[in-house]
């Protein structure tokens, strides 16, 4: 569309449309990940400065209720209401409630992040969620997507679920796991070991080192390590002279210099002629090496694997990785921005997968995320590991601390209220509490 800047208004319009109107029937194939799409919508609007605070209270509350309705009674969240049964179906079978359609790890991550926009973290059944999360870990350190009634962990052993598990753990427990909760914690060392084993001969990371390196899996591994504090503090590297990152200790990665080479190699010069050619010839030899050089009006895209085509989403997966390992300065934002703005940004707002493609929610969000990682003016400061604004990350941090403070119930004039233990009036209020009403005490006796 030939504009070299972010058309904020048009993007806001695109995302408001995604929020307010029905998505086209084509999205039916993503019905099981509506929670993911929902998160992209809420977070994109936040990045653009038109977040949920612009909505009426009632609408925010409705969205919150919808997310909470997808919570599974045994912990975790379902991907969409099509995976969540009415409450009455989850019959207690002696060792907890019947599973029905199990909770799902990606949905849980995106639900928690979405609640950060419209709700509170104490609305999550935290203990159940953490215990459930632990059941998803395999002996090799990897995680599954969900666990069946028979106790079978389903889903690939790849880095995606490790990332999601690390992120859910971060959101619910933060950096410090209390002694009391340690027994319910996942095995972090095993996960790190598993991630380390995933590096391939060419320096990238794959679902295991036996497969082809892939920028999506690489992002998931690095972001997981980042959330587990297994990467060196990026600020100490980027502020020092270039070159020190290669000697920095990076406990989570086997071969850092190979990793950096692989990441920067994902940049490819985009030329228009590429479009007209067949897939096989798209990565063909440049006619002369001089074409590899760059001038003012050129475009740089990213591919996800060696010798593949440029795709909007990889602009994020790769720049985010470089940023997290403190090497964000190894790329030149100009030609990358130009590729996104002039080649994949769409005239109705949003971004498409590749030049000429219609916008979709996934690429539209990751296009914004790539720009935000490169500190695009007009977008909020960004946290590449959680893929949300820093402001939102801080909010989640605070929400977690708030949720961790226990609250107690007290009675006044026959009604129950709750009060946080860190409330200045806590002692006084509890001392003044009435006895619970007679019928409640009786009811509790029957239950027991």
């Amino acid at each position: 569309m030939g504009e070299s800047q972010l058309d904020t208004e048009r993007h806001i319009k695109y995302w408001r449309r995604c929020l307010k109107s029905l998505l086209p029937t084509d999205y039916t194939s993503t019905d099981s990940s509506r929670m993911t799409l929902g998160f992209f919508i809420l977070s994109a609007l936040d990045l653009l400065g038109a977040g949920v605070e612009t909505l009426p209270d009632k609408e925010r509350a409705n969205i919150r209720d919808w997310i909470l309705k997808c919570q599974h009674p045994n912990g975790g969240f379902c991907g969409s209401p099509n995976h969540r049964y009415p409450d009455g179906y989850y019959v207690d079978v002696g060792h907890g409630k019947q599973l029905m359609d199990p909770a799902n790890l990606p949905a849980t991550f995106f639900a928690i992040l979405s609640l950060g926009f419209v709700g509170r973290l104490d609305q999550i059944r935290r203990r159940d969620c953490l215990r459930w999360l632990k059941t998803l870990q395999r002996d090799d350190g990897s995680f599954g997507e969900f666990i069946t009634e028979e106790g079978i962990i389903e889903g690939g052993n790849d880095t995606r679920y490790c990332y999601l598990a690390a992120a859910v753990r971060w959101a619910l427990t933060g950096d410090q796991v209390s002694e009391e909760e340690e027994k319910d914690d996942i095995d972090v060392e095993k996960m790190v070991d598993h991630l380390r084993r995933g590096q391939t001969y060419d320096g990238g990371i794959s679902e295991s080192s036996e497969h082809e390196a892939h920028a999506g899996y690489t992002y998931c591994a690095i972001a997981a390590l980042s959330l587990l504090n297994r990467l060196p503090d990026p600020s100490t590297i980027s502020s020092s002279t270039p070159g020190t990152a290669s000697t920095a200790k990076l406990p989570g990665l086997a071969d850092l210099s190979g990793m950096v080479r692989w990441l920067v190699s994902r940049q490819i010069k985009y030329t228009m002629e590429e479009d007209e050619e067949e897939d096989e010839t798209s990565s063909a030899e440049p006619l002369s090496l001089a074409e590899l050089s760059l001038n003012e009006s050129e475009f740089v895209g990213f591919n996800g694997r060696c010798n593949k085509k440029a795709d909007t989403c990889y602009s994020f997966w790769v720049t985010a990785c470089l940023d997290m390992i403190g090497s964000g300065n190894l790329i030149e934002p100009g030609p990358i921005r130009r590729f996104l703005f002039e080649q994949t940004q769409h005239r109705i707002g949003g971004f498409g997968k590749s030049p000429g493609s219609p916008p979709d929610i996934y690429h539209s969000y990751l296009g914004l995320a790539a720009l935000a990682t490169m500190k695009e003016p007009g977008l909020k400061s960004f946290d590449p590991a959680l893929c949300i604004s820093i402001q939102q990350k801080e909010k989640l941090d605070k929400m977690r601390r708030d949720a961790l403070v226990p609250t107690r119930t007290y009675w006044k004039h026959g009604y129950s209220f709750s009060i946080r233990e860190d409330d200045p009036a806590y002692e006084k209020t509890m001392a003044a509490s009435e006895e619970p009403p007679r019928f409640i005490v009786d009811a509790l006796k029957i239950v027991r």
Partner: protein, 332 residues
């Protein structure tokens, strides 16, 4: 009347429709067909019914939403309960996979089926070979559509381990065929690396892909170097074989400088003022690292400077970053 409502076969089922509520996010304009089928699937799953009509219903849902994460499992359980022949399911899946190139669940389902089938043929080499052949034929069909389909390659690596195909001539041959068609097919290069360096016959179990493996025979290292080197002459600017060569050298515990002469075929850097001749930026990168390994700091720096300023300017910052530690060395 839909496909299910009013249909005598489904008469006994009360569908459980989705309850979306007011604040629904990412609401989709479902077709009536999808909404109805989904309601019936939910009812069937709640009742834990595993009957032949479940196969029709799950097939119907899969045709509209192949990424439904539990319908596949439910289908697998139904197949088990009904003792349905696995080969029948595999050939049905071939069709589905060809229609849903990007879907991941299909391949996971296929693994479940193979896991289920394998014990019954594990002591019959002819049956294993027959399965390997028919799977290879199907994957070749998939690769005709997209020779870099990630899910198919992952499944293939799984199958090589499961059926023990590391030494199968057909396996290596088929990878070579794919590379002959497209020498830039990095998926095929990766698969070759796996076949060669994870072969349990001579590799150390659990050896990392990025580390030296003392058990790899020299002859294998030589063979693989020769194979990848030939490919670089065919297309010097193709990064796949250059990466492969680095990987092979590392597995074999050899230095980059051990193949310096080969890389030098693509690069001439005259001592005087005459122009250099560079046929591959990857060769230049390779030499820069080899020279820096040998302490030839100035030559290495020269190569990196050429990359930054002339032959690979889109990665200028990276090449400059690589130069920084060399400068430290020369100033000492």
């Amino acid at each position: 009347m839909g496909k299910y409502e009013g249909n005598p076969v489904w008469d006994d089922v009360v569908p459980i429709p989705q309850d979306d509520g007011e604040g629904a996010l990412a609401q989709i304009a479902y077709t009536d067909e999808y909404a109805e089928a989904m309601g019936y699937l939910r009812a069937i799953m709640a009742a834990k019914e595993y009957s032949p009509r479940v196969l029709d219903l799950t097939e119907h849902i899969i045709s509209m939403n192949a990424a439904h994460y539990t319908v596949w499992l439910y289908r697998a359980s139904t197949l088990r309960a009904l003792n349905t022949p696995i080969d029948k399911e595999l050939s049905w899946m071939n069709e589905v996979a060809l229609q849903n190139q990007k879907n991941y669940q299909i391949w996971h389902h296929r693994q479940i089926l193979i896991d289920q089938l394998y014990p019954s043929i594990s002591s019959d080499p002819a049956a294993i070979q027959a399965l390997a052949d028919s799977e290879l034929a199907f994957m070749t069909q998939m690769f005709d559509e997209d020779s870099k389909n990630y899910h198919v390659w992952s499944y293939r690596q799984y199958l090589v381990r499961k059926l023990g195909l590391f030494n199968s001539p057909a396996e290596l041959k088929s990878v070579e065929n794919l590379l002959r068609k497209d020498i830039r097919n990095n998926s095929a290069w990766s698969h070759r690396f796996f076949l060669v360096f994870c072969n349990p016959e001579y590799s150390t179990p659990d050896s990392k892909a990025t580390e030296y493996d003392a058990r790899i025979p020299d002859a294998i290292v030589d063979r693989e170097l020769a194979f990848a080197q030939a490919a670089t002459f065919e297309a010097p600017q193709n990064q796949s074989p250059w990466n492969y060569i680095r990987g092979v050298l590392r597995k074999g515990g050899r230095k980059l400088s051990s193949v310096e002469q080969f890389a030098g075929e693509f690069v001439t850097l005259p001592e005087d003022d005459s122009a250099e001749d560079v046929k591959s930026s990857h060769a230049l990168d390779f030499l820069a690292e080899a020279w820096s390994e040998e302490g030839k700091t100035e030559k290495a720096d020269h190569a990196l400077r050429l990359l930054a300023d002339k032959y690979d300017r889109i990665r200028k910052n990276y090449w400059d970053w690589r130069r920084a530690p060399l400068k430290e060395k020369t100033s000492k």
